[in-house]
Symmetry: D2
Subunit: 289 residues, 4 copies
Amino acid sequence: MSQKTSYGFLGLGIMGNGMVRCLLAGGLDVTVWNRTPAKCAPYVELGAKTASTAKEVIEKCDITFSCVSDPEAALQLVTMENGVLAGISAGKAYVDMSTVDGACAQEINTLITAKGGRYCEAPVSGSKGPAEQGTLLILAAGDEALASECQEAFDLMGKKSWFLGEVGQGARMKLVINTIMGVCLQGMSEGLAVGTKAGLDGETIIEVLSMGASGAPMFKLKGPKVLKDDYAVNFPLKHAQKDIRLGIALGDEMKQEMPAAAATNETFKKAIKEGNGDLDFSAIYKTLN
Amino acid sequence: MSQKTSYGFLGLGIMGNGMVRCLLAGGLDVTVWNRTPAKCAPYVELGAKTASTAKEVIEKCDITFSCVSDPEAALQLVTMENGVLAGISAGKAYVDMSTVDGACAQEINTLITAKGGRYCEAPVSGSKGPAEQGTLLILAAGDEALASECQEAFDLMGKKSWFLGEVGQGARMKLVINTIMGVCLQGMSEGLAVGTKAGLDGETIIEVLSMGASGAPMFKLKGPKVLKDDYAVNFPLKHAQKDIRLGIALGDEMKQEMPAAAATNETFKKAIKEGNGDLDFSAIYKTLN
Amino acid sequence: MSQKTSYGFLGLGIMGNGMVRCLLAGGLDVTVWNRTPAKCAPYVELGAKTASTAKEVIEKCDITFSCVSDPEAALQLVTMENGVLAGISAGKAYVDMSTVDGACAQEINTLITAKGGRYCEAPVSGSKGPAEQGTLLILAAGDEALASECQEAFDLMGKKSWFLGEVGQGARMKLVINTIMGVCLQGMSEGLAVGTKAGLDGETIIEVLSMGASGAPMFKLKGPKVLKDDYAVNFPLKHAQKDIRLGIALGDEMKQEMPAAAATNETFKKAIKEGNGDLDFSAIYKTLN
Amino acid sequence: MSQKTSYGFLGLGIMGNGMVRCLLAGGLDVTVWNRTPAKCAPYVELGAKTASTAKEVIEKCDITFSCVSDPEAALQLVTMENGVLAGISAGKAYVDMSTVDGACAQEINTLITAKGGRYCEAPVSGSKGPAEQGTLLILAAGDEALASECQEAFDLMGKKSWFLGEVGQGARMKLVINTIMGVCLQGMSEGLAVGTKAGLDGETIIEVLSMGASGAPMFKLKGPKVLKDDYAVNFPLKHAQKDIRLGIALGDEMKQEMPAAAATNETFKKAIKEGNGDLDFSAIYKTLN
């Protein structure tokens, strides 16, 4: 399929940059577009084609991916003049890899499919580094045949991809994963705070923790930094809190109690109240310590 | 030092079995003793010497390790007739690798050093598998010179060892690590419960989780089991709750709030109330789901 | 003012019944209307007038109160054919005493004032008994002059009324009060559960509690009932959970951590999961005990 | 019985002062003793007799009450030279109204009964004001016949007394009541913090709360003070935290989860960490707000 398929990619930000490079490095036929056209030049040097509008990308390509900053940008990309929707016709495929909520994914799905297009949401887990290295985790949902046709591209961008069912399940999986992540970070922070107060060396706690059964990669990454009050932002605390809050809201909907997530959420809220919402989410340590 | 040093080992249970095999495989001179003498035979075939009492092991060896089931057994091993204390004299070294609390470690320390002996506590993190494979994490504290002399033996039994300071800090490190572990398990359980209720596949949640930043080895190990209601005991829930409770008590002492650990502890208590205290600690999932 | 003012009342359910009787007993001029006209008869015997539509009530009266079951009913009462809005003209006053959320109150406010009408929300705290006895707590917000003109009527229906500011503050006050109530009930339930397990007599715990500094009337009312597994519904658990959830959501908005409310919410959710959502909110005791 | 019974009272501090005055005002025959003899003079003016040692009080009186500051003082009063125990003989009755823990009550019970004496613990709920007004809540446990013989005296000192069973149940009741009180105060504080941030007036929140179903007397008392940052100590925060911690420990023992109490405890710990342990327990508001 790869030789015949033509791919589009809309959005060349931090994430899109790495993803497109991976697709090009894999020898795929990629047409790129970005709101600021100048950003396209480096990809042309690597073999990419360009188009003057998002509409044109959709029209020229079999499958078009996008990755923009948030739900508002994702929706605007679809509905704006000369946007995605303008180019959609029967059989065209659109795969939105932005992080949006389930309702937004549903809305885009309705717009695309009403014009005969095919749609997948495919939010990713992982940030700048994994995007460049092609080691993202890809959480696809929606049109299963389409997800299957994306496999080659997904394999270039990610270390693994999953098809999770109907539109919305990709967003839900991301919430569940991020809620668990928040609780684990909270657990580390509480343990680090009490351990150092009890005279244990913080770096050593992280080292022992990292080598044992609960040794998540995040602990090795964040632990030494919080001990130095280094909260350079990777995942903003206020975004992490939003995900935990939505994870708990999913619990409300499912009538699933989530006591540790709830306790964690309250700490994150306190951290925002204390003015740390724009720091890295590991800055809950400041609030707890 | 290794050629000149003679080692003793008291206690040949699940943990001691693996640890002694590692010492013997490393070519060390080891004298073993067990309450049930017949248990010593397999180690003699592997090159171990034996002695008829714990006292005799202490007298014959430069450094004697022990690993028994709990604080009571650890204390009895020291104080019983023909026990450890009976053999201690100036310069003899005793390293207790059992999991005991700080108070018990202090008491044994006082008894040993009052007779001129040297003492380390060295509780381990890891269970049967790591004991056999020599990949335990060894949390030593007490006599620093002694811990240093144990390095060759520690390297055979563990993948890493740490010297943590005065007697009690080994036990405290273990509490901190196990409290964090409890919170992480709770986070996974809450996420798994809400995610599966929302229609996500449980195995997939574990898989995505395991490949991401919060992917602790424990999730891969426990997740698929709890989804099958398999709570075959590895670490009993009631022991895990005891550690979390003591971790929070350390927080009380240090005036460190630990809200997620506290929420976790209440779930563990509820699980015990529901009759699951003797199952694996992952059985909190039964209570939450 | 009372001799000149004519009052309307829409909705003669459990709450409206008591409230209208209090207004009539106070000698006010009241015109009633109910979806089921037959329900009006008893009030006519007590001196009330009737009208055939809500629109007609509004047109005939200076100030019209309403009290219906939920936000949907409240909104429908306003917008339906021959409803409230149809009767509104410059200077007409409408006071909605239903329990609605802030958004709904805002919407009704916009509709009424766009036609030149005046509007207050005035949700009440208290149930059937206080409605009949005229001892409700009235939480008014919106048009301050109107709230002031309602004083005589409020005094007949309630033991106290407050003017709380702009539309939405009445609903918010109710959320805050109900969230605190949920936490207090949770506290009582936890104490009762642990105390009785420790061999203390449940009735005695309630009695000691009730005579002390934290002796809320609710404890005396609910305590003895939960001890007999009597959860006859007064305030449905699922409604109480909704209020606590919205109270915490207000905390999210204000960046105010609410750890005990969050823990309480998780217990309420668990209770709903266990099938007790339609019982009285005191049925959290079943889940905790 | 009252004319024939002679009463002793040991300890004339803040609590004892009020209690003795109530006994004297009721016309009882009371012999007082205090570590500082000069403190006895005012009571002599009111009709009290005095003795030079605690031993002498026990010997002269049928029933001797005591109320001292803490478990250490309570135990010392019994075991010191010329103390309570020195005077105990068959049939002598001793009723300790100090706040002690169950273990201390048990120890005093063993000492007194071993010499043939009779013993009750009778901790009280209430502080200075109720002691002076004779409106304490008296939580008696131990020798039931003795508690019954104390009824006249209890009625003078308290508005109600209960007999709760074996020694230790008085202390346990106090823990349960104080744990519930802590959760209720936390609930009020969270509600007050979020409500005021949402623009509601704090005094009004307290007023509405106080007139409703969860209107505990404490809210009216503490609410307006915390709004003015007035934390003049009535019940020290660190003592309140100790009681909540012990209440949760009772939950551990009984395997009773107490999630809101646990969340509350963490807030109290944080308040102590922030240096507010010696303020009134209502100072958790500073930590939450």
